[in-house]
């Protein structure tokens, strides 16, 4: 959740909130306190046997498992970094394949109203196809190997990046084109020096959403047919009834998910310093 740094706002909650604000405790302290409290409560509840240690391994056990995963790995020998590398590699390959194809294609389609209208129903449908539902089909075509997983990621990302690239081109304000024309720019110059930079923010937006999708897809795709990767890790853990490994695995997933979600945002701030508000495109 965003921190409350959007300027003075009247408080409409209880007086306690107002008093708390006057001490200027940063917001994240509350969040951290809540998490620590819940963890403490959890530990306590297990110690008191309110909940079973089997179904809810206490944080103390999870900490030990965390270490064990890093050193010895799970299943034996496959340490966390192996899992991480597997997942990230798959994401990287599928994602970049999708981007390399979708961005130029999207720019092309966006520049042509007829192409845009003709392709819209097809693209809309293809995007509505739930990527996971393609898993059995991909397996039938490509087997259970790496390519299947990479293909699924690529599929899921492709349509998102494509639609955003098309919208990016369509959304370039006509004023920019007029201004460029009246400054004597040739059509090629207009494309590379106006359309392209003007489209970048929206393309980036699509790439952010697509990365989220890639992560979603890979976790699911890794649950079948492989024992490396974060998705595989938590699935394997279940087969061995190691709830603690599952939970630590989920923690890793949360961390990687968080990093992935923010990496592009950080990159965008560096590459596109002129964009004033980096709005999240929801679809």
């Amino acid at each position: 959740m965003p921190s409350s740094s959007d300027g003075p706002r009247p408080t409409f909650g209880p007086r306690l909130a107002r008093r708390a604000r006057s001490f200027r405790v940063p917001d994240w302290v509350y969040g951290l306190a809540a998490v620590l409290f819940l963890l403490g409560l959890w530990e306590f509840a297990v110690a008191q046997e309110w909940i079973s240690a089997f179904r809810f391994p206490p944080p103390s056990k999870l900490a030990r498992t965390f270490e064990a995963l890093l050193e010895r790995g799970f299943p034996r020998g496959i340490t966390t970094d192996v899992h991480l590398k597997a997942t990230l590699q798959r994401i990287l390959q599928g994602y970049s394949a999708a981007a390399v194809l979708a961005i130029p294609l999207g720019l092309f389609i966006g520049s042509s109203p007829y192409l845009d209208r003709a392709s819209m129903p097809v693209i809309t449908f293809a995007r509505s196809v739930a990527t996971i539902s393609l898993l059995p089909l991909a397996v039938a075509w490509f087997g259970v190997g790496e390519f299947t997983r990479i293909f699924l990621i690529a599929y899921g990302c492709f349509w998102i990046i494509l639609t955003n690239a098309v919208e990016a081109v369509k959304g370039v304000p006509r004023q920019y084109l007029f201004a460029a024309q009246s400054l004597g720019a040739s059509p090629a110059q207009i494309f590379f020096r106006v359309m392209l930079p003007a489209s970048l923010p929206r393309i980036f937006s699509g790439m952010r959403v697509a990365l989220g999708m890639a992560f979603l897809v890979i976790i699911a795709a890794e649950m079948v047919g492989t024992i490396t990767g974060l998705g595989a890790l938590i699935m394997e853990a279940r087969n061995f009834y190691r709830t603690d490994v599952t939970m630590v695995g989920m923690l890793f997933i949360a961390i990687i998910g968080f990093l992935l979600a923010h990496i592009l945002g950080w990159l965008e701030r560096i590459l596109l310093p002129w964009v004033s508000d980096l709005e999240e495109v929801q679809r």
């Binding site: 003709a118 509505s128 739930a130 059995p136 089909l137 976790i219 699935m235």
Partner: protein, 256 residues
């Protein structure tokens, strides 16, 4: 208002794309450029749809899927909305809730499957749980953000005519936050739907995802593709209904 000719041209262009794709697909299939056993053509799929799978069966699967997804969506969505409104209104609650939510949010709903199976067993509950997770996070995030982004001017205007407390929340805050909430609902639905399919593909005995898996198990690729297409169409349809019928009508002042 629009020239009829322009409208017709647009319509033709839209259909042209679809027709071209179908034609190319059928030609590839007819020429057997790819093994039709694993790459069926549109006519084969149509045949499967009409003969292999009676409509009643298909509707049964559709109903099973829709029941799950609507149920899970309502649970996750309403919880998300309630908590989102509460944490947006009572700042302190929002600050406390922020921590746990931010930690759990990046975890894809499907990653909860092993835990869900552990806690709820193999039955319907675990699937509904996953689906509700899909709806919960987008909805709570958008609702909270919607509540936070309300223009303070609206409150001052309302207070100057004497509104305060719960009525302020109900009559001003929530309607003002609705556009953002609506976006969250739309995303939440899409995520729920995706989670449904995944949950069914991975483990179910009824439903569209199951249908796809079944096709794989009996080695009939047409059934797989048929199921995939059905899922895609259903996704499109529900999103269209949600956006065009619900949002545009009820929130005409924003989306119209």
């Amino acid at each position: 208002m629009n020239e009829p000719r322009l409208f017709q041209r647009n319509l033709i262009a839209s259909w042209a794309g679809v027709i071209v794709v179908l034609l190319v697909w059928q030609v590839i299939n007819a020429l057997e450029l790819v093994n039709p056993g694993i790459f069926p053509g549109p006519l084969q799929i149509a045949d499967t749809a009409l003969h292999r799978f009676p409509l009643a069966d298909v509707l049964g699967h559709v109903r099973a899927s829709m029941q799950r997804v609507i149920f899970g969506f309502l649970i996750g969505g309403s919880l998300g909305m309630v908590l989102g409104i509460a944490s947006g209104w009572y700042r302190l609650l929002g600050k406390f809730l922020w921590g746990p939510i931010e930690i759990l949010r990046p975890i894809p709903p499907l990653a909860w499957i092993p835990i869900a199976l552990m806690w709820f067993g193999l039955g319907e509950q675990s699937k509904v749980f996953i689906i509700s997770l899909g709806a919960f996070f987008p909805v709570i995030t958008s609702t909270y953000s919607g509540m936070r982004r309300i223009d303070p001017m609206l409150f001052r205007a309302a207070q100057s005519v004497g509104l305060k407390g719960p009525r302020l929340l109900l009559k001003i805050a929530i309607p003002a936050a609705l556009p953002d909430i609506a976006v969250g609902i739309r995303v939440g639905w899409s995520l729920s739907f995706g989670s449904l399919v995944a949950a069914e593909v991975l483990a179910a005995n009824k439903g569209l995802g199951y249908m796809v898996m079944y096709g794989r198990e009996v080695g009939e690729v047409e059934v797989i593709v048929y199921g995939i297409i059905l899922i895609g169409l259903l996704n499109l349809l529900t999103d269209y209904l949600l956006y065009n019928v619900l949002f545009k009508r009820q929130l005409k002042w924003h989306f119209g």
